[in-house]
């Protein structure tokens, strides 16, 4: 779709201004039902569309010039409120923009989308600005933490949207909202200007309608950057070209531990098995593989992530960020009361768990141990990729759940990340794409490749996309 938009804009079949108005209208008509946007930047978008049009008129446009998009409200946008869906940043206006935003140049920012507070959650229910509803069933969640971005692309409110994925926060909502959710290798895209949650896991990625669109974005946004020292100097390939290659001949691994996972919904398992059979018919070589430490990945993540969170959340103290509490009478109370009043329960929970895991007496048994298990989980993937090109798994063990169904039980919510977390620990690239419909609800499947092998991943994903012919679920907005 993005390539087509580029062609239409360049051929002056549609102007950047007209295109932006179309999307703004769609947002106006549907945002109150979905609550996908925290901030809609109507005036700024209109102004930016005019600038984009000038560039097109002068023939100096970039691949993304004039294309309307949305960004998860975790990406700093200069002069535009960035809240991280938290009260403590409700009035925060960044003086600079994230690299992902500046690299999008004259693409047109339509607004900042909803998320779980500070990206902690799997349903967007933990947002301080209300939940984002699933565009296919308004009583169900859009997934999280990037629920707003997923819903926005699914409902046609934006041509593409930025998200972040730390334990599944792009892939899982993509699966719940029937869109492509792409998470590159950790370090493929700069995290500069993205509110940090868990610094060794956070990865910038996107939501798109098609696999080719993700490849198109990756061509522009991938690359090393001096402001983010965790971006290695790895060649940026032509990822769009990769999507044009055949599926035939690719070796696809099916991890036993995922197929046999206890939490896997039987209907999703059936869809998974049907898909494997289809792939085999199309000439892909299917092979069973084992990732022996899969069952420890979730526990590992829920030690490492809260530990890093407890450190990253230290800055929200009423002095560096946030407005100090009215009820504070001492310096200590400025910190404690501001944080108590303006930070939500799930964030507090993770800060406390993280503090525990890092505290004297617990550090070795929890944090260091988890780092060691992380090495083992990463090795599982390295070993598997000796014999296969990509891995195929369901993205989510369960169907999009009803609002309120899991928010009262933290561990029940954590289980949503069962299939996505191991990938995050290993830092390898993965994508979720729509593959099935069960009970009218979208079901996505996840493809995984080795570190910096986005070309192989996109080749497999494009191939998979071509053969899945399941009827699409119905939008209700």
């Amino acid at each position: 779709m993005l390539k087509e938009l580029r062609t239409q804009l360049d051929a002056k079949k549609v102007s950047a201004v007209e295109l932006t108005e179309q999307y703004l209208k769609r947002i106006e008509e549907t945002n109150s039902m979905l609550n996908s946007f925290i901030t809609v930047t109507t005036e700024e978008a209109r102004a930016q569309a005019k600038v984009a049009q000038k560039q097109i008129d002068q023939g100096v446009q970039d691949p993304l010039t004039g294309i309307p998009y949305a960004a998860k409200d975790l990406f700093c946008t200069k002069g535009i409120r960035t809240t991280a869906a938290s009260r403590i940043l409700e009035h925060y206006i960044p003086p600079y923009s994230a690299t992902a935003i500046t690299d999008s140049k004259e693409a047109v920012l339509l607004g900042k989308t909803n998320l779980d507070e500070f990206a902690m959650g799997a349903s967007t229910e933990y947002s301080a600005f209300g939940v984002t509803k699933n565009p296919f069933d308004l009583e169900r969640v859009a997934g999280g933490s990037s629920g707003g971005s997923a819903a926005a692309v699914a409902a046609g409110q934006a041509a593409f949207a930025f998200g972040t994925d730390t334990g599944g926060s792009i892939r899982q909502p993509a699966s719940f909202c029937n869109v492509v959710g792409f998470k590159p290798t950790y370090g493929r895209i700069s995290r500069y200007g993205v509110v940090a949650m868990s610094s060794s896991l956070d990865t910038v990625g996107f939501f798109t309608k098609t696999v080719e669109d993700s490849a198109y974005l990756l061509n522009t946004l991938a690359g090393s950057n001096t402001f983010d020292t965790t971006t290695p100097e790895v060649k940026v390939e032509d990822y769009v070209a990769a999507t044009e290659r055949e599926l035939k001949g690719l070796k696809i691994g099916i991890p036993t531990e995922y197929m046999q996972a206890e939490g896997l919904d039987p209907q999703i398992k059936v869809a998974y098995e049907e898909l494997i059979a289809k792939l085999e018919k199309e000439g892909a070589k299917i092979q069973e593989v084992s990732l022996p430490h899969t069952n420890y990945a979730l526990a590992t993540y829920y030690v490492l992530c809260p530990a890093e969170v407890s450190s990253n959340m230290g800055r929200y103290d009423g002095i560096r960020y946030g407005i100090p509490s009215e009820h504070a009478h001492t310096l200590d109370e400025v910190f404690t009361k501001t944080r108590d009043e303006q930070i939500g329960r799930e964030v507090k929970r993770r800060v406390l768990i993280g503090t525990f895991c890092l505290s004297a007496g617990s550090y070795d048994a929890f944090y260091k141990k988890a780092q060691q298990v992380r090495t083992l989980v990463t090795r599982d993937f390295t070993n598997a990729f000796q014999s296969v090109d990509v891995l195929l798994t369901p993205t989510s063990p369960f169907l999009p759940f009803k609002i309120g169904e899991r928010s009262a039980d933290p561990v029940a919510m954590y289980l949503a990340d069962l299939f996505t977390v191991p990938v995050s620990l290993a830092g390898v690239p993965a994508v979720s794409l729509p593959c099935s419909v069960v009970n009218g609800l979208p079901v996505g499947m996840q493809l995984i490749a080795a570190q910096f092998q986005e070309s192989i991943l996109l080749r497999a994903a494009a191939g998979l996309e071509r053969i899945t012919s399941a009827p699409a679920p119905k939008l209700v907005v």
Partner: protein
């Protein structure tokens, strides 16, 4: 693994968080659930395994100590909750009160 109110208060002090009475009632149970879940890691044999901090393998990336970006003070003032006429950040007067 048991988790009690005292331990919770200790962690809250370390993390500069204040917990309400309601949170202090509910939290120990939630914590026990989460801790039971993460304690399963003890089952894994990690003898001789190096810990992973992050997966890029990069270390000590340096650049020349040259200023390349400056943000004008006016821009920075926009992100401050309260400023005075000179453009200073106004914070609560807490140093005059006695501290804990």
């Amino acid at each position: 693994m048991k988790f009690d109110r005292e331990q919770l208060l200790h962690l809250a002090r370390l993390a500069k968080l204040e917990l309400t009475e309601e949170e202090l009632q509910k939290a120990p149970q939630e914590f026990e659930q989460i801790l039971n879940f993460i304690t399963t890691l003890q089952e894994v044999d990690t003898t001789g395994v190096e810990p992973t901090s992050q997966i890029t393998g990069l270390e000590n990336r340096t650049r020349e100590d040259v200023v390349t970006t400056t943000i004008p003070k006016q821009e920075l003032l926009k992100s401050m909750p309260k400023t005075d006429e000179q453009g200073n950040l106004v914070v609560k007067a807490v140093f005059t009160e006695s501290e804990e």
